[in-house]
Symmetry: C2
Subunit: 218 residues, 2 copies
C-alpha cells in the first residue's frame, strides 16, 4: 500500500509516519520509484504499536526506540519479557546525586527501606534494577515532604502490586513466538499501566462520594 | 528568609523559584525593598509541594496551578478530596472524536464496557467523570491493538484497584484541616501513583526472573 493508505488504515498522519521513519522507529518500505515506497501489513502493525506507546503509554521517541529494539532482539520468550521490563522507562524522574551529609543519610535511609521491603516480599530483584533505584528515589522525596509510609503501609501496597503483576504476567506470557510475546508484553506492561491507574482513580472517586454521602446524612 | 536561603532550604534553584512566582504557583514574599522580598516557612512548604508535583507527580505547570487552586479553595475535607480527585490530570491522552461509523461503533462499545464494569463494581461515578471518559478511551485503543481484556480480567484488576484506593483513602483522609488534608491527598493521589507503579514493576521483574529460573531447570 502507499503511504496515504497506510495513514488512512492506522489513523497516523503522513507527516508523523515520515517522522517515525526518520527517527528509525519504522522500517523502510519497499522502494518502487525514487520517491515512492510500498508498505505492508507489518508496517501497519508496527505503526499501531508506535502510536499506542507514544500516546497511551506516554513514552518519548527515544524510549519507544529502545522498547522496539528490545522487541526485535527477543530470541526467547523469557528473554523478551526481561528485556521489555528493563527497556520501559521508570515512572519517576531521577534525583540529583547527594552532595551533602544530610542528603547522603536520606539516600541511605531510602535504600535501606527498599531493601527491607524486597527482603520481606522475597522479591528476586538486584540492587542495580532501575525499579529498585526509582523506588528509593521516590521514597526519599516522600520523606522530604513528611509523607513517608507508616510501618506496614508500604508492604500492604506491595502485596496488592504482586497480585496485579500476577494478572499482568498471565495476560502477557500466553504467546510462544518471542516477538509476538514481546509486543504483547509491551502493551500489557506499558499501555495497561494507565488503565489500572484509571481504575484506581474511579475507585477513589467512588469512595470520596460515599464519604460525602455518609457525612451529609450523619 | 531571602530567596537564596529559600533555594538552599528546598533544593529548588533561584531561577525556578522566580519562574514559579511568575506563573502564579508561589505567593509573593513580603517586599522589604524594591528588589528584595522576605520568604517564610509557608513558601518553603509550598515550594516542596510544587517540586514534588512537577517532578515525581509529572504534572505540567498548568495542571499544578489547577491542583494548588483546588487546595487553596478547599473549605471542607470531603470537598477537598473531591476537588483534588478531579483536578489531577487523567493519565491518558484524550482521543480524537469519532468521525466515521466504525469509530463511533468502537466508541460506543468501549463506553458500554466501562458502564458494565461500573455497574458490576457498584461504583458511584457519573458518566461525566474524566476517569470514566479516560478509561473508555484507553479500552478503545486496546481493542484497536487487539489487546482488549478477556471477560472477567478487567473486573479482576478493578477489584485490586478498589483495595489500593481503600489504602489511599486511609492515608489521605486522616487530617481535619481542609487545606492540610488537601495537600496530603495530592501527595497520596498524585505522587504515590508512581510508587505503586514501581512496586508493580518490581513484582513483574521478580516473576519474570522466577519464570526464567524455572524454565532453565526444567
Amino acid at each position: 500500500m502507499k503511504i496515504s493508505e497506510l495513514s488512512r488504515r492506522t489513523g497516523v498522519p503522513v507527516a508523523s509516519i515520515k517522522y517515525f521513519r526518520r527517527e528509525g522507529l519504522l522500517p523502510a518500505g519497499r522502494a518502487t520509484a525514487a520517491t515512492l515506497a510500498e508498505y505492508g501489513e507489518e508496517h501497519a502493525e508496527r505503526l499501531r504499536l508506535i502510536k499506542a506507546l507514544t500516546t497511551l503509554g506516554g513514552l518519548t521517541i527515544a524510549a519507544t526506540r529502545d522498547v522496539l529494539g528490545a522487541i526485535d532482539q527477543a530470541d526467547s520468550t523469557d528473554g523478551a519479557l526481561g528485556a521489555i521490563s528493563y527497556a520501559l522507562p521508570v515512572p519517576v524522574v531521577s534525583q540529583p546525586s547527594a552532595d551533602t551529609d544530610e542528603e547522603e543519610r536520606a539516600d541511605a535511609a531510602a535504600r535501606a527501606e527498599v531493601a527491607d521491603l524486597i527482603a520481606a516480599m522475597d522479591w528476586q530483584t538486584p540492587d542495580t534494577s532501575p525499579h529498585v533505584q526509582g523506588l528509593a528515589a521516590a521514597l526519599k522525596e516522600l520523606h522530604r515532604l513528611e509523607a513517608g509510609y507508616a510501618p506496614g503501609e508500604l508492604a500492604a501496597y506491595a502485596d496488592l502490586a504482586r497480585s496485579v503483576a500476577r494478572l499482568d504476567l498471565e495476560r502477557a506470557a500466553t504467546l510462544d513466538d518471542p516477538v509476538a510475546l514481546a509486543e504483547r508484553a509491551v502493551i500489557v506492561f506499558a499501555i495497561c499501566a494507565p488503565v489500572f491507574e484509571l481504575l484506581r482513580r474511579l475507585a477513589q472517586e467512588d469512595q470520596v462520594r460515599r464519604r460525602s454521602a455518609r457525612d451529609a446524612t450523619a
